[in-house]
């Protein structure tokens, strides 16, 4: 038998044939004969290998390189490059479904961009681009025209509050750190952004690192710090790389290091990369991690402003908090304070995810309503679907419903509604999401991320999770809801840090707004949203099924049987309830009960 070192699979489905797949095959054969490769490389016909939009398509094995959009005339070139020289022809290579920048398109309705204004418009790896948009002018103004006290006063008057979750006024925090008479002092930038669904900080670090850096340097001048750390999660390698480039360039231009801009103010900093622990976003844990320890939270007080990194006064702010600072210094506090609500000024970035038409990153003025965000900024719900709930504040936040859609968003309003601002992740859900399942999901997360230092959080979250799992699996019993409620109260009251204190929020809020869903799971053994697998079954219905066999061929566990053009049948014992059959059936013949 001949041994082929390579196989070329060419698609001969109608679409590809229409685009000249046969000519491609002929050209391939000819060229392989000409090059003396015909005994080493085998050409095979196949079907459906790609997206069908950009045929002809072929895949070369063993490398698995997928070529699209070429024609017979390109074949000699491809053969020479790929098979003789061993080089992949990038021009025709079908990029794996790599992520495109759907996050940040042009300005959407109702958006106001301050933090994101440069993202996507300047080259983040070139400091001159930043300088061209007034970059580092605020630093100059602060150093030459303002005393540290005046800088703090300006930030205070702007009303800027911490964007990392709790919303502590930034100017007041700077003042606290400044007041402590103990040196050296440190600046920390919290770039740990661990909330699932939140990626605003990543985007700023990747798209406009100098704005964060400039804010930090101005802050260092204000509080009297001489060294700083940017603590970035390891899941953001590009952010780390971009930020390190920014630091190097800022040093070169004299914005960092000894005697900044010729003054006697000196400040430098470094990036620290995390190693995958959500709780390290909590500031005392983060500080422990910077010092090379396990990132376990410790009780506050003492606050980092008094005792932080290496036991010294440390000012910690979130990425977004810092990146607001340069513009506040340049344009003045009244400009910033003119946006927002009574108690929450300026803008806030949100990462909108879940079941909306246009997910992605947005920046809107404080005081906007959820309705405006979902329907005006994020394009609304998908066709035929309805808004059901939105989770704000990440895994320690809560679910809000229809009744909250017209609430003007600020820190206090969200807390009063039983959720929180958090870092700014918004997960929007339609009727296809089961709220018990979502609560279980968040609990799965917090339980896994609990550092284990204190018992209410460690044991309590595990018990909550077990109860929720039991309910989702159809084993819920009378009394479970009350047990959940008791546990939630206990965990919130007795946990040391914000993770434990906030962990029950998703359960509390879904219980409050969707109690009937819990009851349906427990008493009727039914998942109203048809999500919880043990509580649903897939069934093929009679007149609708044409017997096309598509479902049977796609079922991963061969649970579907039936003759061509005959009604098909699902074996419930084998079925793993993956839902693939529903998606592939063109006749809507498969129902979920």
């Amino acid at each position: 038998m001949a041994f082929f070192r390579s196989h070329v699979l060419v698609c001969v489905d109608p679409e590809c044939l229409a685009r000249g797949a046969h000519d491609v095959i002929d050209a391939l054969q000819d060229e392989l004969v000409d090059q003396g490769l015909i005994d080493e490389i085998q050409v095979l016909e196949t079907s459906r290998i790609g997206g069908c939009e950009d045929g002809p398509e072929m895949i070369v094995y063993p490398e698995g390189v997928h070529y699209v959009g070429f024609n017979a005339d390109d074949v000699p070139f491809i053969v020479e490059e790929h098979f003789l020289k061993g080089r992949i022809v990038e021009k025709f290579r079908e990029m794996p479904k790599v992520v495109v920048d759907e996050e940040l398109g042009p300005l959407r309705p109702k958006e106001v961009r301050i933090v994101l204004k440069n993202c996507g418009y300047i080259d983040p790896t070139n400091i001159e681009d930043y300088l061209a948009v007034d970059g580092y002018q605020a630093l100059g103004k602060a150093l030459f025209e303002m005393t540290p006290e005046q800088v703090i006063e300006e930030v205070k008057n702007s009303g800027l509050r911490g964007r990392g979750g709790a919303g502590f006024p930034a100017g007041r925090k700077w003042d606290l750190t400044r007041q402590v008479n103990d040196f050296p002092k440190y600046m920390v930038c919290n770039a740990d952004e661990g909330d699932p669904g939140a990626f605003m900080n990543r985007r700023v670090l990747e798209g406009d690192p100098h704005s964060v850096l400039e804010g930090m340097i101005i802050g260092a001048y204000a509080v009297g710090a001489s060294y700083g750390y940017v603590y970035c999660r390891a899941e953001y390698p590009i952010a780390v790389e971009t930020f390190n480039i920014a630091i190097a360039q800022a040093r070169e231009f004299g914005f960092l290091g000894e005697n900044i801009l010729g003054t006697d103010f000196s400040f430098d900093l470094e990036v620290r990369v995390g190693a995958g622990a959500f709780v390290c976003g909590e500031e005392t844990a983060l500080i422990a991690s910077i010092m090379g320890l396990r990132g376990e939270p410790s009780p506050r007080p003492p606050f980092p402003s008094v005792k932080g990194v290496w036991g010294k006064p440390t000012n910690n702010n979130n990425v977004e908090t810092y990146s607001n600072v340069p513009q506040i210094i340049l344009k003045g506090a009244p400009w910033y304070a003119s946006m927002g609500t009574e108690r929450s000024k300026g803008t806030k970035t949100f990462a909108v995810g879940g079941n909306v038409k246009k997910p992605g990153l947005i920046e809107v003025p404080m005081g906007i309503t959820l309705r405006e965000i979902i329907f005006d900024v994020a394009g609304g719900m998908h066709e035929g679907r309805h808004f059901k709930a939105v989770q704000t504040g990440g895994p320690m936040g809560g679910c809000l419903t229809e009744q909250h859609l017209d609430l003007p968003l600020d820190y206090e309003a969200l807390t009063q509604a039983g959720s929180m601002m958090g870092s700014g992740g918004l997960v929007i859900m339609d009727e296809t999401s089961c709220m018990v399942d979502i609560a279980r999901f968040f609990m799965d997360f917090t339980q896994a991320e609990s550092c284990g230092k204190c018992t209410p959080c460690r044991v309590g979250t595990r018990r909550l999770l077990e109860l929720l799992q039991k309910i989702c699996e159809g084993f819920g019993e009378d009394g479970d809801i009350e047990k959940l409620e008791e546990l939630c109260e206990e965990i919130t009251k007795n946990s040391l840090c914000g993770l434990g204190q906030g962990a029950p929020n998703p359960v509390v809020s879904t219980l409050k707004h969707f109690r009937h869903e819990y009851e349906a799971h427990i008493y009727e053994k039914r998942c109203p949203s048809k999500v919880c697998r043990p509580l649903i079954r897939f069934e093929i219905t009679d007149p609708a099924c044409t017997g096309c066999t598509v479902c049977a061929r796609n079922c991963p566990v061969e649970a579907i049987s039936g003759e061509r053009r005959q009604l098909h049948h699902i074996d419930q014992e084998t079925c793993i309830r993956c839902g693939i059959c529903v998606q592939v059936c063109n006749f809507n013949a498969i129902t979920v009960e």
């Binding site: 090379g292 995810g353 997910p359 999901f441």
Partner: protein
């Protein structure tokens, strides 16, 4: 990519990592991460080597091996077990979950016959969940080694895995 065990020179690797990050207490996490990145996990020998090489009486840095293990057990990314040739990371967080992540996750587990954290007997695949990688707007997200796949559907899993055959 995991280096074949015959080629790896752990003492040299550790030396390079210490040189890069400094022989200080607060460099322990970066040093361990560096080893983890190079080998795919931190073998027992590497812990010993870090302790040995950092044991420098003049600098006054002392670390016990138990301290190093305590760090590795705390931080999810520091692995102490060998990983498969390809590591598949699946984002199993709510934003990806509500846009179809659940079906993708089920299909992945079925196809590979693996549970979270397991490696296939032939050492080819390791399946783990990851924390949100911030690409939720194109979820569900699957990461195979360094390759990112967004908007993944269950039907695509076969194709995606096929690329690494």
């Amino acid at each position: 990519m995991t280096a074949p065990s015959t080629e790896r020179d752990i003492p040299a690797l550790v030396r390079a990592a210490i040189e890069k990050h400094g022989a200080k207490r607060d460099a322990l996490i970066p040093i361990l991460s560096e080893v983890n990145l190079a080998l795919g996990y931190i073998p027992g020998e590497a812990f010993k080597e870090v302790r040995k090489q950092l044991h420098d009486p003049t600098e006054g840095v002392f670390v016990a091996e138990s301290q190093l293990h305590a760090l590795a057990s705390f931080y999810d990314m520091l692995a102490t077990k060998p990983r498969g040739e390809h590591v598949i990371k699946f984002c199993e967080n709510a934003p990806c979950h509500v846009v179809g992540g659940k079906a993708v996750w089920d299909t992945l587990r079925e196809k590979l016959s693996l549970k979270n954290g397991e490696t296939t007997p032939d050492g080819k695949w390791t399946l783990v969940t990851t924390s949100c990688i911030g690409l939720c707007s194109v979820g569900p997200v699957v990461l195979v080694d360094e390759d990112l796949y967004g908007n993944v559907t269950p039907e695509q899993i076969g194709d995606i895995l096929g690329r690494y055959e």
